[in-house]
């Protein structure tokens, strides 16, 4: 069998790539996608450790994460759409209503 | 009969407020009648507190205790001779305030009445709470309706005034919260019991060096509320901007919460610190008396004049509180009631004038007496009550306060007595400029004298003024034993000074507690 550290390193790489992508990309949608990547990296870590702990609980957590991610994607995309409708842009730099 | 009468009095207004939520906001008269009914019923219930109050017992009566959140946070309320009349004052004034706002408040009537009733619960809660957490909850809860009362129905600078009021008060109360937590955790460390019960804390003998900080935290909170010079500047602003009802409740009851706090918490909990800060606080009070009087003298706005007069009067009350003898403290409590009645009445009167003229500037008036003779009579009586004329309530309180202060320190009393001259000065001058002289403003010719509703709500106040001035015994008698006990607690410091202590310990000693309390604590532990 493949040792768990392989998976874990893959998870780390994916996570960091996701976070880099978040900063590098300019539009909200792709930034949102980067978050999904990070979530998936976390999922991978969960399942790996669940496997090495011989437990199904980790999978249940991942199941929940996926569900929440779905809900989050729905709402998040709705918000992005709304922003686009009102501001005619999805460039993250243009959106700073909360500037103090 | 085992009716939880105190809880009833406390929460009836809140229940009334909830009831009002379900009434449509356009049905203004129904709203007013309902809230009035709630306030009157509350008052009637609170009367039974008075009649069933046993004046021989110094400890709180009508005690109700129930678990609430655990960890010593309990629902624990009771009334003693110090708080009894403040509750009655609140419940008496609330119907009056609602009546006075009958036509004065036209926009958002529903919300106004709801806030008023919530405020009543908050205020009564402060006076009955015996658990520090509960007290703090009420203390803060009462700020919220007050914030809206000034902020929504206030004058042109209402936002400024209401923010100033809330922030000022918050500043003090947060420090108090810290002090409460400190006491709480230290009590737990020392005894292994979670407790926020005031009476458990009364049993503590604290290290004086720590007392100082705790006292300062408590005292600041109360001093702002009183307000003690130099923390008074929120008061004129809040009063000037607040609607009549808000001003009345603010002057009549809210300020008393400060002095009440001193009597209930700051003095008995930290007697050594009190001794240390006594000179400072007494001098500040004295400055407040004279300073408030002088400032009142030159105000151009009637409301801010009355507000500064409050500073002066409350200064006298504080000075009496710090005199720490029976006469002075009974006088102080009595004077709190007097001030509540007379200043409350003065604000009502200013409100009546404002409703007719839409101005509060003294210079806009003149010769109103001619146009409104009945009003003039009421005004005169209320003013004289505030001046402290014998035969009216103010005199009893004033003479007891001054007597007590005199007993404690002659010089302070001699300087403090200037209040009776200053009060006559600013109030009579104001009365002259507003009510007497020729009518200079044509608007005044259109003023109508008091209508029945206005007479109805002023009469009880005037009756109380005479009653309290002529036959104060029923009031003073009920305070006696509680005040004596309070003074015993404050004098507890002597125990400390007779024994040498290490200064590092927070807790020096816990007074032996009764078996009943022990059992209770055991139960707590078991939980």
């Amino acid at each position: 069998m493949i040792p768990p550290n392989y998976f874990l390193i893959l998870s780390v790489i994916l996570f960091v790539l996701g976070s880099v992508a978040f900063f590098v990309k300019k539009d909200l949608i792709t930034m949102f996608m980067s978050i999904e990547i990070m979530l998936n990296a976390a999922n991978l870590a969960f399942i790996t450790l669940a496997r090495s702990a011989n437990s199904a609980d980790g999978q249940i957590i991942v199941f929940f994460i996926i569900t929440v991610a779905a809900a989050e994607a729905a709402v998040g995309l709705a918000i992005i759409l709304l922003i686009f409708r009102q501001k005619k842009t999805i460039k993250s730099e243009d959106i700073k209503l909360m500037k103090g | 009969m085992n009716l939880p009468i105190l809880s009833l009095v406390t929460f009836l207004p809140l229940a009334g407020a909830v009831l009002l939520i379900f009434v449509h906001h356009e049905r203004k008269n129904l709203l007013r009648v309902l809230s009035l009914a709630v306030a009157i019923i509350t008052f009637i219930f609170s009367l039974s507190l008075y009649f069933n109050f046993n004046d021989q017992i110094p400890d709180p009566q009508f005690v109700e205790k129930a678990d609430w959140l655990g960890y010593g946070i309990k629902y624990h309320i009771g009334v003693d001779g110090i708080s009894l009349f403040l509750i009655l004052l609140t419940t008496l004034l609330m119907p009056i305030i609602i009546l006075s706002s009958w036509t004065y408040i036209q926009k958002r009537v529903k919300e106004y009445l709801i806030f008023m009733l919530i405020l009543e619960t908050g205020i009564i809660g402060v006076f009955v709470a015996l658990n520090l957490f509960l007290f703090y909850v009420f203390w803060e809860a009462m700020l919220i309706p007050m914030y809206f009362l000034i902020g929504v129905w206030g004058g042109p600078r209402k936002i400024y005034a209401t923010l100033k009021f809330v922030l000022f008060t918050m500043l003090g109360s947060l420090l108090m919260l810290v002090a409460i937590f400190f006491l709480y955790s230290m009590y737990y460390k020392a005894t292994g019991v979670y407790s926020l019960n005031l009476f458990d804390y009364y049993g503590l003998i604290l290290n004086p060096n720590i007392q100082i900080w705790l006292f300062l935290a408590f005292a600041l909170s109360f001093a702002i509320k009183v307000p003690l010079f130099p923390f008074h500047t929120w008061l004129p602003d809040a009063h000037v901007e607040a609607p009549t009802g808000g001003s009345v409740i603010l002057a009549a009851v809210l300020l008393k919460m400060g002095t009440y706090g001193f009597l209930r918490f700051a003095l008995p909990l930290f007697p050594d610190a009190v001794m240390k800060f006594l000179p400072l606080l007494a001098v500040l009070s004295l400055i407040g008396i004279i300073y408030g009087g002088l400032m009142a003298l030159i105000q151009k706005d009637v409301k801010s004049l009355v507000a500064y007069s409050s500073v002066s009067h409350m200064g006298l009350i504080m000075l009496a509180v710090f005199a720490l003898n029976t006469e002075a403290i009974e006088g102080a409590i009595y004077q709190m009631l007097n001030h509540g009645l007379s200043t409350g009445a003065l604000f009502l009167i200013v409100g009546i004038l404002y409703e007719r003229s839409h101005t509060r500037m003294i210079s806009d008036f003149g010769g109103v007496s001619k146009q409104m003779p009945v009003f003039s009579a009421f005004f005169l009586i209320c003013m004289l009550s505030s001046v402290g004329l014998p035969g009216l309530n103010g005199f009893i309180g004033e003479i007891l306060c001054i007597f007590g202060i005199f007993k404690a320190n002659k010089l302070l009393a001699i300087l403090g007595i200037s209040t009776i001259i200053l009060a006559a000065g600013y109030l009579l001058w104001m009365f002259q400029r507003v009510m007497q002289g020729p009518i200079t403003n044509e608007k005044i010719l259109s003023f109508k004298d008091l209508n029945k509703r206005e007479i109805v709500y002023l009469v009880p106040i005037v009756i109380m003024m005479f009653w309290m001035g002529i036959y104060p015994k029923p009031f003073l008698r009920k305070m006696d034993s509680s005040v004596t006990q309070l003074l015993n607690r404050v004098n507890k410091r002597e125990i400390y000074f007779t024994q040498s202590r290490k200064d590092k310990d927070f807790l020096l000693e816990i007074e032996p507690i009764t078996t009943e309390e022990k059992n209770e604590q055991k139960e707590d532990k078991a939980r």
Binding site: P3, F23, I37, L44, I47, T48, L81, L82, I90 | -
Partner: protein
């Protein structure tokens, strides 16, 4: 066999993510991501989590990414997005990412010595279903409420206001 599959899938995943970072077209981005997620599903299968693997492919690579694509279509940015003014955030973030990767690897160092588990775990759909309706009943139900709330929320947000 296992190793080969793992490296293949891992390389595809990382490659897809890198391609996503480099590509400027949103539609491509989404497609790359679908690829990455699908590969991840394969990796999950390698980890003996068949149910999650399937869910990953159906829900993530399928449903969620379809949502993205819909939105991308609705927004339809024809012209490329102009470059950002604030560059230093990006550079700083890359530096930080390097630090992060070092830290993360250091932090999973403890897991390197974990023994390879050979025990057969019960993680088929039936087992997960049983767990979900027993031990995780409350979270499960709460999640359903969450989804409903998200659904309603999304609709409310998107709904165009009626003109009065």
């Amino acid at each position: 066999m296992g190793y080969f599959l793992f490296f293949l899938l891992a390389a595809l995943t990382v490659g897809a993510v890198l391609a996503m970072i480099i590509s400027k077209n949103q539609a491509y981005n989404a497609l790359f991501l679908i690829l990455a997620f699908a590969c991840l599903g394969g990796i999950f299968a390698l980890l003996e989590a068949p149910f999650i693997a399937v869910v990953q492919i159906i829900i993530y690579a399928g449903a969620i990414m379809v949502l993205f694509i819909f939105v991308i279509m609705m927004i339809n940015v024809r012209y490329g997005i102009p470059a950002e003014k604030k560059k230093w955030t990006i550079y700083l973030s890359i530096v930080l990412a390097v630090v992060l990767i070092i830290e993360l690897i250091l932090s999973i160092k403890g897991a390197f010595t974990l023994p390879v588990s050979t025990a057969i775990i019960k993680a088929g759909p039936t087992d997960l279903g049983r767990l979900l309706f027993t031990k995780y009943l409350y979270p499960f139900e709460i999640t359903s409420i969450l989804i409903i709330a998200a659904l309603v929320g999304a609709i409310v947000l998107i709904k165009k206001k009626e003109k009065k």
